[in-house]
Subunit: 160 residues, 2 copies
């Protein structure tokens, strides 16, 4: 695999390739995806570990930060986890006063989640490392490559 990365020079797919070369190119892409994603999660994981938190907490902080006053149910939907899986880490974030909870005025069953100032600060730190990492890479490869990357990612996640 390291072999492939060094000997095949990151070829794009086109119709002139033999099936074998096409397969090799696609396998290389899979590996780049895997290692790229892994590299992308290293820094936040390190910061989280210092506070005894994990990736779940990061995801909660991220989505609550992006969606202030989000309901528990809506958050569950975004994270695609069960409420039981959310319960423990969310309660932990509430105890640590990184997330705060309010009862909705329109429906008193609904609990609305928001970040506290401290929570927003931690979230900014976590996401900041990833934003910086992306910014560095985007600066390296240029706006054209960046736009291509976005297009592929959007299409993959079904938004394109």
């Amino acid at each position: 695999m390291v072999d492939q990365i060094s000997t095949i020079d990151n070829p794009p797919l086109d119709e002139t390739l033999t099936p074998d070369m096409r397969e090799a190119a696609l396998r290389l892409a899979i590996e780049q995806f895997y290692f790229g994603y892994r590299a992308f999660t290293v820094q936040p994981d390190r910061i989280l570990a210092e506070r005894g938190l994990g990736r779940v907490h990061h995801r909660i902080l991220y989505f609550v930060g992006r969606n202030p006053r989000i309901s528990v149910n809506a958050l569950l939907g975004m994270l695609s986890v069960s409420k039981q899986a959310l319960n423990a880490p969310l309660r932990q974030l509430l105890d640590m006063q990184l997330v705060m909870i309010d009862t909705a005025t329109h429906d008193k069953r609904v609990r609305e989640l928001s970040l506290t100032a401290a929570g927003a600060e931690l979230e900014a730190q976590l996401t900041g490392t990833q934003m910086q990492q992306l910014q560095t890479v985007f600066a390296q490869v240029g706006a054209n490559a960046e736009a291509g990357w976005r297009q592929v990612m959007r299409s993959l996640s079904g938004q394109g």
Copy 2:
């Protein structure tokens, strides 16, 4: 977040953006990365689940397939896990006759791993769904966007 995806039209970064817009663009990229990667692992996970296997098994099958006669130690290095973590799933794959083991001729301590025919078949099926997914997306977005995506991924994983 869905809001952002639908209202901001996937802007590339450039120096004319305000800091706020720059941050929004980078956050959008982070989300695309997260959801894109998640979408990328859904299909293999489904196939694996049918056989009672997990992602670990896929990773083992993949790297052994790409590196026939790989030693246990080398495999550990690629997966970045402890030998204890590898032990159980690897033994399972051996028991299921998807991976086979040989003693190296040059050093009888070393055990060399390869896929059996059945293992190669399953690996091809698993990786095949991902290759097809990528191929579809690449065809949709064109060779230029694909090349950009590869550049970004390579740079992220530290190969560029």
